[in-house]
């Protein structure tokens, strides 16, 4: 590139650039639909959340396959699956977004602090992370959940508490190498404080990694909630979540495949949607990627 000034390219806001990507829009659409159906579940759901319908079971007590009044079939208690999935979106969104987000937050905080400051604080934090990592996550979740009374928010907290560790590890490594980079030294040379460097110059570079872990983490946390439910320490029945619908019915994958398939698709779609948006966001936020597909 020569020194001659280039004509100034037209700049769009990050949102505007996001809007120009069809896949990102698709992702956004899926997320919006999920959020809207979670909020509007009481109005759009065909039946009551916990309503065990008499017509929902055969005389032998088998669930109804999709069709008729039950668009996606019914579950083992004769409840409408579509309704359950719509309401389940609430739980799963909280878990996937809040619990996962909290895990990312803690992981980022610990990893970045340790990686940036090193020294005794860094050692301490990383040894603690190692300790947490060496601790079987499921056991920790079980104990914590058994000690506190299970509720959606406790479950979210527990999931966050066991899931931050990997994020912290990965971000620690990345931060240490980032902190070695010249531009960080340059910032310190002009007198920038730690807060400023961390917030403005380190964190933005970690965004791609955080996005990858965040999007992959969505399905993992949603399923972890289900495992906890299955252990009786997740959200309590009859409150539905996509994960616990699957877990309650997983042995029925042959007899009533819809009970596993539809909530599974819901999780997959949500994870994919967040990933599509995340990928796009990552490119949009990264100025060096600008203009490259």
């Amino acid at each position: 590139m020569s020194d001659a000034a280039l004509p100034e390219p037209r700049r769009r806001s990050a949102l505007g650039r996001l809007a120009r990507r069809p896949l990102a829009l698709l992702g956004l659409a899926i997320i919006s639909v999920t959020v809207v159906s979670a909020i509007a579940a009481p109005w759009i759901a065909p039946f009551g959340r916990d309503e065990q319908l008499f017509e929902g079971l055969t005389l032998e007590g088998a669930p109804m396959p999709p069709g008729g009044p039950f668009l996606l079939g019914t579950d083992l208690l004769g409840r409408d699956l579509l309704t359950r999935i719509l309401y389940g979106a609430r739980t799963s969104l909280v878990i996937g977004v809040v619990a996962n987000g909290l895990a990312l937050l803690i992981g980022t905080l610990v990893g970045v602090t340790a990686g940036y400051f090193r020294g005794w604080l860094g050692s301490l934090l990383m040894r603690f992370t190692d300790l947490m990592m060496a601790f079987p996550a499921l056991l920790l979740a079980i104990c914590l959940a058994a000690i506190f009374t299970p509720s959606l928010w406790i479950v979210a907290l527990v999931i966050a508490l066991v899931n931050w560790v990997q994020v912290a590890r990965v971000l620690y490594t990345e931060t240490t190498s980032l902190a070695e980079r010249d531009f960080i030294a340059a910032e310190r040379a002009i007198g920038a404080g730690h807060g400023r460097i961390l917030w403005l110059h380190i964190l933005p570079h970690l965004v791609p990694t955080i996005i990858v872990w965040g999007t992959l983490g969505i399905s993992t946390t949603v399923l972890l909630e289900a495992t906890l439910s299955f252990l009786g320490i997740g959200v309590q029945p009859p409150e539905p979540s996509w994960g616990n619908i699957i877990f309650e019915n997983q042995t029925y994958f042959q007899a009533a495949p819809w009970l596993v398939f539809f909530p599974g698709m819901a999780i997959l779609l949500m994870a994919l949607a967040f990933n599509l948006v995340g990928d796009a966001l990552r490119d949009v936020l990264d100025p060096t990627q600008r203009g490259r597909g």
Partner: protein, 306 residues
């Protein structure tokens, strides 16, 4: 090297100590009384108290923990409350299958994940890339129990390629290892893809091509070892993640490993077993991380052990 190992050893022991302390404490405050279960339904209060005394469960926390450590020092993991056997014996019998399963799963996830990641990186932006991305998401999102049962149904019951669960031959290992590995494969393929994309941009790849090397050689000999470096650290982390999956996969496939033991113990609050399994898995994780740290400099000579 010796100094490094010594330091890591001390660190590891401290970590393990921490793990046992936390676990012991959590189990101590857990609202469930193992003595009730040992004593049975028809037991009188005196019987219950007598058992509690015999097991030392009436002692204060620090005394109990101290005794646990003391026994641990003598390599005694205690006796299971409900299985009424030596915990070390129970764990020892189940360790080989679990290690085998983990090894199989790591191989599966590496083979699957790395291949998928490499192909996606090479075909960046194409339909193949997108397809592989969706596949990796399915891997990450699919509940392992369902995946396991489905595989069992399709490959064992219908096609009869593999035995329906069980343990023994290599054929027994394939499906469980695959089930356990699919989740990791999803993660690895994503990590590998971005790592690979990064490496393919490097100057030395151009140098390798300028030497007139064949494409596969450029990818396998030059790009792969560099791209795999960040993945190795992940393998250490992975072992921890496996512990959850192992419970599910072992139970679906009737695999006689630690997972099933742990599951039963947790259900019944069999504290000595829970402690033993926790310790063993913590050792595995610590060793896994150490191994990852030791392997990295073998691949990347720039990294020194410090």
């Amino acid at each position: 090297m010796a100094a490094y190992l010594a330091r890591r050893l001390v660190e590891s022991v401290l970590i393990l100590l921490g793990v046992t302390l936390v676990t012991f404490f959590l189990l101590y405050v857990l609202p469930a009384d193992p003595v009730r279960q040992i004593a049975g339904r028809s037991a009188t209060t005196e019987t219950v108290e007598s058992i509690r005394r015999q097991l030392g469960l009436d002692q204060p926390f620090w005394v109990q923990y101290g005794r646990y450590l003391w026994n641990l020092l003598h390599l005694d993991l205690g006796r299971s409350y409900l299985q009424r056997s030596n915990v070390s014996e129970l764990i020892w019998a189940r360790l080989p299958p679990t290690l085998l399963l983990m090894a199989g799963a790591i191989v599966c996830e590496l083979i699957l994940g790395l291949t998928m990641g490499i192909i996606a990186a090479l075909r960046r932006g194409t339909a193949t890339d997108n397809g592989l991305m969706i596949a990796s998401f399915i891997g990450v999102s699919a509940p392992q129990f369902v995946v396991g049962l489905l595989m069992l149904y399709v490959f064992a019951v219908q096609l009869r390629w593999f035995p329906i669960g069980g343990y023994g031959t290599l054929a027994h290992l394939v499906l469980p290892a695959l089930t356990l590995g699919i989740l990791g494969a999803g993660w690895y393929s994503r990590m590998m893809r971005s790592s690979m994309v990064e490496v393919l941009r490097q100057d030395f790849i151009r140098t390798a091509r300028a030497k007139g090397l064949a494409r596969h050689r450029v990818i396998l000999r030059h790009a792969l070892p560099n791209a795999i470096l960040p993945i190795i650290a992940m393998i250490g982390i992975d072992i921890g993640i496996f512990m959850g999956g192992i419970v599910v996969v072992e139970s679906v496939f009737g695999w006689p490993g630690i997972g099933q033991l742990a599951w039963q113990a947790i259900q019944r609050v069999d504290i000595p077993i829970i402690m033993g399994v926790t310790l063993v898995s913590a050792v595995a994780i610590v060793l896994g991380n150490l191994l990852a740290d030791l392997v990295t400099p073998l691949i990347d000579p720039r990294i020194r052990l410090r």
